[in-house]
Structure formats: C-alpha cells, structure tokens
Amino acid sequence: MTDVQQFSCTVNGLQVSTAVDTRTSAADFLRQELGLTGTHVSCEQGVCGSCTILVDDAAVRSCLLLAMQLHGAVVETVESLGGLDELSTLQQTFSAEHGLQCGFCTPGILMTVEAAKRAGTSAVAVVDELLPGHLCRCTGYDNIRKAVQVYLSPEA
C-alpha cells in the first residue's frame, strides 16, 4: 500500500510542487528528491541536531517532520546560506574561528544560529540553550561557541 499525495512549499526561494509517498520524512525529501544533501541525517530521533532546517523561520528537526507537513511552508536549508562561490558571513565566521572539524554537524548548527540571528536571540542564550540541541563529536565546542560569539556580538 503506497499513499502518494501532492503538496507544495517553497524551498530556498524556489516554489516546489510535487508528490511524495506520505511516509517520507522532510529530511529524506530534501536529500533524496531535491538533492539538497547539505541537510545531514544521523540519529533520526531529534537528539543530534544535524538535520536542523528552518520552517517559517523556526529551527526544527527535519527528521521528525513529514515532507507532507512542509505544505504551504517556507523552507530553508544550509544551501540557502551564501552562494556557490562565496560563503555567507555566518559561514565565514565559523571557518575563521575553526568552529568545525569534520563538518558533519555544521549545517544544522548554522541553521540554528541563522534562526537565532533573525529572532534577535543573544549569543549567551544561543550558547547556553540552543547549542545543546546539537551534538558535535570533534571540536569540544569551544570554537563553535567562539564562532557564535563573534557572529552574534562582534563588538564584544
């Protein structure tokens, strides 16, 4: 029994209208249907944060959403940051501050910080409350915290 249904949403500024098997997760849809493999999947139970994307400006786990639940939403993935030839300021800051090593967790972290920037969340709140929603197994977090500090409060 396959249940295929139609839905539409905006992904990184492009209007997408398509049909999916309704049990497809948002993460699998973005990666496998749209080829946006910057969104990473790891734990697939909401703990690790590597699949974090923006849905209507809110940072959410794409592994715990169905593709169908993106209907009518504005979706943004890590591919929306910067361009092919130039990194965004957020990305440049993470690079300059060594806020990553292997980079697997980085797309999710970048999307969380992007949402925080838009919401006007303080660097302290991001470090204390939002970063714990992301697991990084390489860096020990010091440089990730530093990159967040520098990006959100450059004057400090």
Partner: protein
C-alpha cells in the same frame, strides 16, 4: 522511508478530524508536533493504518488566560507557551517545566495536547498538571465534549482516558493564587527525559505551610502525588529545616523501581533531594 505504510489525512477543521476519528477511531494515530511519534513510527513501534495530521487546524492553537486558569489548545506549541510573557507572570511553573522538554528546536514543534495525550510517565507537563490539579478537554463527534481531571486522564504508560473516537482539544492549567509552584528535575543530560521530576506547590501564610502539593514523574506508570507527605506537612513552619524534612518524607513515600538507568534507591534519593531543593527555592522566593 522508515515508517510502515500508512494513509495520511491532513484535516483543516475540528469537524473533519472528528469525522475521521468517528469512522476509523481504532485505526487512527493522531500526529500533532510529532516529536515523540515520529521516532516511534520510524522504529515501527507505531504502525497506524491512518495518520491523522491536525497541524492545519488553526482553531486548536490558542492560549487563553482567565482569572482562574490558563487554557491552551491542543496544537499550541511548547515554545509559544515557554516565551509567553503573561503566562510567565501568572503561572511561571508551566514555562519552567517546558524548558526541560527536549531542546528549543524540538519545542518549536512540540504541542501541549500531544505532550499530554502521549502520556509518557517521565514527561514534565503531566506532572505539572497533577500538582495544579488541571484537566484535559476531549471531544468526539457523537458524544460531544467532556472535561477529564488529570487523575482520571492519566491511566498508565502511554495510556489515557481518551477514547479512540476522541481528540484532545485543550488542556487547562488552573491558577490558584496565592499558591506558589515550582518544577525541578534531574536528567542524565539536559533535554533527556528525567530520572525524576518534581512539581511542588505551597500555600504559605504567616510563616506556616498551610498546604503543600507534590507530584512526581519518572517514578511510576503515571504522575503520582505524595498524599501522605501533603497531609503531614500541613501546619509545619516555612523554614529551611522543614524543606529538609519534606525531602526525607518524599524519599520514604515515593514509589520507585530499578530500571536500566538507575536503582530504585538512587531514584528515591533523587526525589528527596529535588523536593527539599524545590521547597527551599519556593521559600526563598517568599523571603523571611
């Protein structure tokens, strides 16, 4: 794709949702925030015939504050309540407890109705509801609406009084001025389900604890109230020494069993510590 195949129904109104539940009740699983359900679907521990998505029912996302209660819709997001300035003022224990649910990225999706209807025995809000003596609103097509108190609603692990043709439409958290409430928990990591979580309510007058209410989650198949402690503590002095005594009472009274994470003794000790800590913090708020 990890979940077993299901038929997906996204409905835009409460009437449509109740129609689906009325016709297919036993075969339906309702998805709200999905933050607990999606992993269960992925692991195929949940294999519904029909997945009923209520996210598009705008009427179910409300928050209403009256003189004696904060009423929330089933689809009201945890993050909305957590950052709601007025709720923080009239019933701070609710945002305080919500801050322990998963991570902010999870709470952007978590719903009040879903959290309560899921009835995880370690979950924070059911414990708060037990301490505040709150209630849950249910609605079905044929039998209309009914309100069920927390004690009848939570029946066992993942099991509530909700019937297959019913939808949880809202949750009521009573405001009981001048009671003061606080929630604290111990978890292996912030964002994990707690080893134990306690909600304490105190009614203090002129340096005396007139009444105390304590609920505990993570220790039994549903939230439990420590009734013996509540009776014994009435009339005790509102002092640090009392906070320590209440911790001992709690440790002695709370049911607990061993599990893969911790021993029963450890869990009881945690509850004792949490109770004395939480009572202390409430007494400090009041001041001398």
């Amino acid at each position: 794709m990890k979940p077993a195949a299901f038929r997906y129904r996204a409905v835009g109104s409460l009437e449509e949702a109740l129609d689906v539940l009325s016709e297919h009740g036993e075969d339906v699983t309702i998805i709200a925030g999905g933050q607990s359900l999606m992993p269960l679907l992925n692991l195929r521990l949940a294999r519904p015939e029909i997945l009923l998505d209520i996210n598009r029912i705008a009427d179910l996302a409300f928050l209403e504050i009256t003189a004696d209660a904060v009423k929330m819709g089933a689809m009201t997001r945890a993050a909305t309540v957590e950052h709601h300035a007025e709720v923080k003022q009239v019933l701070p224990v609710v945002p305080q407890a919500i801050a322990h649910i998963g991570h902010p990225q999870i709470r952007n999706r978590t719903t009040i109705g879903g959290n309560v209807a899921h009835a995880d025995p370690s979950s924070e809000l059911p414990g708060v509801l037990a301490c505040l003596e709150g209630s849950v609103q249910l609605q079905s097509k044929t039998r209309g609406t009914r309100t069920v108190g927390w004690e009848d609603f939570f029946q066992s692990v993942f099991t509530t009084d909700k019937q297959p043709d019913e939808l949880v439409t809202g949750v009521t958290f009573p405001i009981t001025e001048p009671w003061r409430y606080s929630y604290q928990e111990v978890a292996a990591r912030h964002g994990d389900y707690p080893v134990a979580g306690v909600t304490v309510g105190i009614l203090e007058q002129a340096g005396v604890l007139e009444q105390v209410r304590i609920s505990v989650v993570g220790v039994a198949d549903r939230p439990v109230r420590l009734r013996t402690l509540e009776e014994r503590s009435s009339g005790m002095a509102a002092t640090a020494a009392t906070a320590a005594v209440l911790g001992r009472f709690a440790r002695n009274e709370v049911p607990a069993s061993d599990d893969v994470h911790v021993s029963a003794e450890y869990r009881k000790a945690i509850v004792g510590t949490l109770v004395s800590r939480t009572v202390s913090s409430l007494l400090e708020e009041i001041g001398p």
